[in-house]
Every structure is written in C-alpha cells, then in structure tokens.
Amino acid sequence: MNTTSTESENTIDFQSFLDWDNSPFILFNAAGKILYLNNAAEILFGYVSKKELYDLALAYAPHDFGYTTTTLALNYDAFTFYAITVGYENEDQISIRFYNAPRIKSNVPIERDKLVETNINLLLEANIVLFKTKNSNHLQLLTDHDIPTFKIDQNKFSKLLRKTLESFRSSDSIHITLKLLTGEHVIIAGKKKAIAQLRVEANGRYTDADEEIKNIAMHCHITHILKEKSIKLEIPLID
C-alpha cells in the first residue's frame, strides 16, 4: 500500500521517513479507501476499523483546504493518542496523523538476577490448573507453543497470571489466547524486544484486583490493558 511518493524539485523522497514514523499516518481517498498507510498505521488497523478512522478524519477535517490539529484523547487497545492532524489539499485525498501519547516510563529497574529463562506456556498451564482446582467455569485456551523461552521473574509473573485468571472466577465462558505479536516491539532498557500477548476475555469479570494486576504488571515491565470484559497483557520477551 505504500505507493505514494513525495518529490520536491530537489527530488527528495520523504516516503521512507513517513513509513518508519512511529506515529500512524493514513491517506484516504474521497470514498474512504486507503491510498497510503505507514507501518505504525498498519499495526493500528489491527485494533480499529478503517471506517472508524475515516469517519474520525472527516469529523475533524478543517472547514476549508488545509490542515488542522485537534487535541483529544484517543484510545485503541494499547495505543493512546493525544492529538490528530487532519488535512486535505484537494477533494480527492484526506490524511490523518495520530500523535502518540508519551508512554509512562517505568521507573522499575530490571533485576536481571531475578529473571529466569521461562516457558510461558508452562506457567500459564499451571495457573489454569490452579484456577480449575477452585472454579468449574468453562475455559478455552488457544496458545502458540512456539513462543520462545524468555527471561522473567517467575514468581511475580505467576502471581500476575493468578490474579488475572481470578478476576474471571465467576465468568461463564473464558477464552484465553496467547500469541506472539508479529511486527510489534517494545523498548526495554534501550533494547528492542518482541512481545507475546496474553488475552483473557469472558462475558464479564471482577475488577477488585485491577490495581494489583497493574502494579505487578508494571514491575514485570508488562503492558496491561484492563477492560470490562477482558484483560490483555503484553509481555516483553527479554532474552
């Protein structure tokens, strides 16, 4: 889809800068079809529909040709934006750029001596067994057994898994998915790390342990997305 080229008189090609910009950028045509999107936008489309973003662009488009930046709080799963710029120079194309809200930098240092090479599937399975000794809810697990081992504080992470599952103790049907997030990375201690995503969802859940879940997740450098019916943990694969 990366087809557009920006050429000035000096034939400077800006496209690769745009491609690799961490802020999502999308160019739609008048019918809402995507003419261009950068890599960050490609990932964003994993969490929000094309129509929703096109409608957003139209809603915040300037009254006349040109560009307007609006400050607003947008949240799509783990993505949080604090502003968007919408612009159009003709009737055929409209662009939208999202400004990433700065992530709260974790002040928790990585205690390498506490990190142990771990098979996450093993810990997850053990926690499911523990959950089943106390609850009889129907539980469905979809996992990727090829997730490589990585280093983690096994005790803390187990507690996080226990708390996460316990918040679904009265749910009717629980779906657990563990997978690698293709193409997504997180920077931990200055290094790029792949991410495994654990998603637990049901028809509802308890929120009494949410603060604890957030706290333990933060200590494990895990991004948490806690919603009414789901909990998503994005786990950096520290090697």
Binding site: K114, L122, L123, N127, L130, T133, Q154, N155, K159, R162
Partner: protein, 244 residues
C-alpha cells in the same frame, strides 16, 4: 517412606499443577485442615527438598539463605512472615490456615487448598484400610479376621481421629478376658476410694453388660431371662445406669 495416596480429582489437579512448576522458581503454599496429609503430600512431590518447620523462625531464615528449594511446614506459625524473602526460590509451604490473607497472597504465586478427608470420601476407605493394617501390625494382633465395615469412621480430626478410632476399636475388640480384667484392675486401683466403692464401680461391669444384652436380645424380658435376674431388678438397673 509412607506414600501419599489419593483418588480425589481435586488433589490430582494439585499434583498436576506442582508437576508443571516443579522446575520453576515459584513459591507455592498448600492450605488445609490439620491431619490431612499436607506434609506427606509435599514430601511425596519433592522428596529431595530440605524440610524446615515454621515453629523454628531461625531455622527457616537460615534455610532460606542456604537453599533454593525448600519445604516450610507449619507456615502459619511463623512470625514476621512478610519479612521472609521467597522470591527466586522454589518454596513449598504448608499451613493449616491462612493467618493474613494479604501476606499469603503477596508472598505466594500458587495458593492451593488441599481438601479435608470429609471432602475426599474416595480416599477414606483406602486410608482406613491402611491404618487397620498398621494397627494390626503395631498391636501384634494374631487374629486379623475382623469385620472392617464395623469399624467406625471418625473424621472429626481427619487422619488423627480416624487412626485413633481404629486403634481403640481393634484394641477393645481383641482383648481377652484376662486383659479386660487387667484393664479394670488398673482402673480400679487408681480410682478406688471413699466408703461406697462397690456400688460406685459396679457400673464398670453392669452398664456394658446390660447395654450389650439389650442390643443383642432386644427386649428386657428376654434379657432378664438370659441374665437370670428378675425383670424388675433389670428395669431398676437400667434406670440406675441411665440406659435408654
């Protein structure tokens, strides 16, 4: 070494959980009533792990410094539990109750509840048979041809009450006439005093005699004939000994 036995699905799930985390550095605790086999259970799962009791705070602190894998029994008896550093070790603790839920919740990744014997009826028959075998051997009974189903099952204190009931039953039911007389002799030697000793201790003989007779023969009429005493005398004695 005594093996831990169970047919309980819930306990098998706990074993499964432990088997999955056996190689990991996580802290686990098993909570359950007294005398349900918690120590036997963890020793069965971790036969090589050193064991230290929560009754000895100093020993626990020292053992935590020394070992990466450790069984701590009687965890509820430890003072200052929160000051212990369990992270990055394979800790298996047992406790009869949760003293402070927040502390336990914070310290342990895996918190299991081992069901009591009352909740594991499928295990009771096996454990009962095991205790009977053990008791017959300990008491050196020559005649082991007794009715197992007649032995009462007392689970008020789990294995403790089950075992003691079995031992008492077998002892009582295997005593010879001489041994019963010896037992009465021993009792009376200790208790006999005052000026009405005969009447006071007559119940030792008369009460079980009448109770057993009534159970065996059903009616007072028949029992009076068997005992060779007057029916009114029997009725009077039933009243005296408060027999229903």
């Amino acid at each position: 070494m005594q093996q831990f036995f169970t047919k309980s699905e819930q306990v098998h799930n706990i074993i499964k959980g432990f088997n999955l985390t056996k190689t990991l550095f996580v802290s686990s605790i098993i909570i359950g009533e007294e005398h349900i086999g918690k120590k036997l259970f963890v020793k069965h799962l971790f036969p090589d792990a050193p064991v230290v009791s929560g009754e000895d705070q100093g020993a626990v602190v020292d053992a935590l410094r020394e070992y990466d894998e450790l069984i701590i029994t009687d965890f509820e008896k430890l003072r200052n539990q929160e000051s212990l550093e369990l992270d990055n070790k394979r800790i298996i603790a047992t406790a009869s109750y949760i003293g402070n839920q927040t502390i336990i919740d914070d310290m342990f990744a895996f918190i299991y509840t081992l069901p009591s014997l009352k909740e594991r009826p499928e295990d009771v028959e096996y454990i009962k048979a095991l205790f009977i075998k053990e008791a017959a051997s300990d008491l050196m009974l020559t005649n082991t041809n007794f009715d197992i189903t007649a032995i009462p099952v007392n689970l008020t204190q789990n294995t403790k009450s089950l075992k003691s009931t079995i031992y008492r039953y077998l002892m009582i039911h295997s005593m010879s006439k001489n041994e019963i007389q010896d037992a009465v002799y021993s009792y009376v030697s200790e208790k006999l005093e005052g000026n009405n000793g005969y009447k006071e201790h007559l119940a030792l003989y008369e009460k079980p005699l009448i109770e057993a007779g009534l159970k065996k023969f059903g009616s007072q009429l028949q029992l009076s004939q068997i005992l060779g005493i007057n029916r009114n005398t029997l009725r009077k004695k039933i009243h005296e000994h408060h027999i229903d």
